[in-house]
Amino acid sequence: MAKKEVDDRFKKFGTVSFTAITKTNDFISHLEDGKIMGTKCKECEAVYFPPRSDCFKCLNSNMEWFEVTGTGKLLSFSELQYGPVGFEKDLPYIIAILDYGFHKVFGRISDDIPYDGLKVGMELQTVPNTLSNGQLNYVFKQP
């Protein structure tokens, strides 16, 4: 009997992924294609980032993908001097949140921007990134 195929694409997300199976696994394929994608409910047009497979507003699961493009405003950031297990080699690194107006994106600042080069309110863009261990995430860069 053929072995059942398991779609565990999400285990590629981030330095350490804690999730393997999700209905939003296509996010990883889009990331591999160079796109950061959120979801939008086809019924009520609610926009979700991070993407969801179910709309809590109208209870539909009829979603479509939209691409995060342009720049967002830096709302806040912090540089970590200590990290959880598995993140030691990344240290120090900066986590941050961008405001795109109709949704926000939480992620990391690109390694080429130092902590002192950041200012709340500055415009940054979200781009796909391959980590040194081969895993995928996305980072915020200067446009």
């Binding site: 999400f10 997300f13 981030g14 330095t15 350490v16 992924s17 804690f18 999730t19 999700t22 980032f49 991070p50 709302l75 806040s76 950031f77 912090s78 540089e79 970590l80 001097q81 200590y82 990290g83 959880p84 297990v85 598995g86 993140f87 990344d90 690194y93 986590i95 941050a96 949140i97 949704h103 926000k104 994106v105 939480f106 992620g107 990391r108 902590y115 200012k119 709340v120 309110g121 895993q135 995430n137």
Partner: protein, 388 residues
């Protein structure tokens, strides 16, 4: 429907590396509350056990703890909202009594942070957020609160010096609280001295000195119906207002980064239920897991206007002699933060203050006290208002 009164409070010493098991730790807080209430175990007709289960090796700890405390065969169950678990349990106990199902309920909160190795602990901390979308970026508790500090600094001009003043206050009272884990003084100079650990960055802009002290500990609050409280206790403290709220786990779902929505909403509900405003509060315990958390609590609870928390601490208004004393037991920063025990310990402090039994930490004649207990990074929030 009658009121609900607190008839007994207790807590263990908060320590590093408690030399005993979780049930033995829970016993210490429970025994003190039982002695304080001058009742016997058989007088308690239900118990609620609160902790954060990821630190426990024991699965479903409620049964094991209740058995050890002699609370079998009365019903027992477990409540968890991370750092606000025991104040959530208080709300549930209040509801059970109000519903007429029970007359006397014990809330036992505990946490043995040292139950697991520091490596295991670090691993669990990595899963403290949304594990699908945020933890893969390497998030940590201090970094999330640091983002709130960064946003508060950018918007209101708050500085590291302002935050350090909150830590200095906490240490002032930690020194006189014999239950506190951190008993040493902290001075403003330490935050500018590169040789002091206090100035060492953890998650910029927060430093070691901005972070609370990990500890093992337990707490217990015993509540009773009005009738039972009056018959069992000379000085019951009444629960006058309870508010609770929740927030998105994911930062991308939030609209406020300079305050905690759960603190604002839970406070609003509690003030409304008690029929009072922030000006009526004589003493407060707020969730100072980080200095910035206390600063935001001043503003979210209405002790200071938004953005003016720094003026409140600069004027020493939250010291014992000030207009609104806050965390005069050392707070989470110095007393320590054993997750599941913290809310109960905050309640205990306010109850002792309202009864005039807080010793060296006693504030002059308070009538109304408030407890603000937050779970996660503003994920859950409970505000409880009590009076004599």
């Amino acid at each position: 429907m009658g009121k609900v009164g607190i008839i007994g409070v207790g807590q263990s010493k908060f320590v590093r590396g408690f030399a005993g098991s979780i049930r033995e730790l829970a016993f210490e807080g429970f025994k003190e509350a039982l002695v304080d209430a001058k009742i016997q175990t058989k007088d308690i007709d239900a118990s609620i056990i609160a902790s954060a289960p990821e630190y426990d090796k024991q699965r479903s700890s409620a049964g094991v703890v209740a058995e050890y405390l002699g609370l079998i065969p009365q019903p027992t169950f477990y409540i968890e909202t991370v750092c606000s678990s025991s104040s959530t349990a208080l709300k549930v106990a209040y509801s059970m009594i109000k519903a007429g199902l029970h007359d006397v309920v014990a809330i036992v909160g505990f946490q043995k942070m040292s139950e697991i190795s520091s490596n295991e602990s670090q691993e669990r901390m990595g899963r403290g957020a949304d594990i699908q979308w945020e933890s893969p970026f390497g998030t940590m508790m201090p970094a999330y609160y640091a983002m709130y500090a960064q946003a508060h600094m950018a918007k209101y001009g708050t500085t590291g010096e302002d935050l350090a003043k909150i830590r200095v206050k906490a240490a002032t009272y930690g020194q006189i609280n014999d239950k506190a884990v951190y008993r040493k003084p902290v001075t403003m100079d330490m935050f500018t001295d590169p040789k002091s650990n206090m100035s060492s960055p953890v998650a910029k802009p927060l430093r070691v000195g901005d972070c609370c002290a990990n500890a093992d500990g337990s707490s217990c609050v015993i509540v009773a119906s009005e009738e039972r409280a009056k018959s069992l206790c000379d000085k019951p403290v009444w629960i006058l207002g309870i508010g609770a709220a929740s927030e998105t786990v994911n930062m991308a779902g939030r609209d406020l980064f300079t305050g905690l929505n759960v603190g604002i909403e839970a406070g609003r509900q509690a003030y409304k239920m008690a029929g009072i405003t922030s000006k009526d509060i004589d003493i407060a315990e707020v969730h100072d897991c980080f200095t910035i958390a206390e600063m935001m609590a001043y503003e979210n609870l209405g002790f200071a206007k938004t953005g003016e928390g720094k003026d409140l601490i600069a004027g020493k208004e939250t010291y014992k002699e000030g207009s609104i004393p806050v965390n005069v037991d050392g707070g989470l920063l110095s007393k320590g933060h054993p997750i599941g025990a913290t809310g109960g310990s905050q309640i205990r402090t306010i109850v002792l203050q309202l009864r005039g039994e807080a010793g060296e930490m006693q504030v002059k004649d308070p009538e109304l006290g408030l407890v603000h207990n937050i779970g996660g990074v503003g994920l859950y929030g409970n505000v409880t208002i009590m009076g004599r």
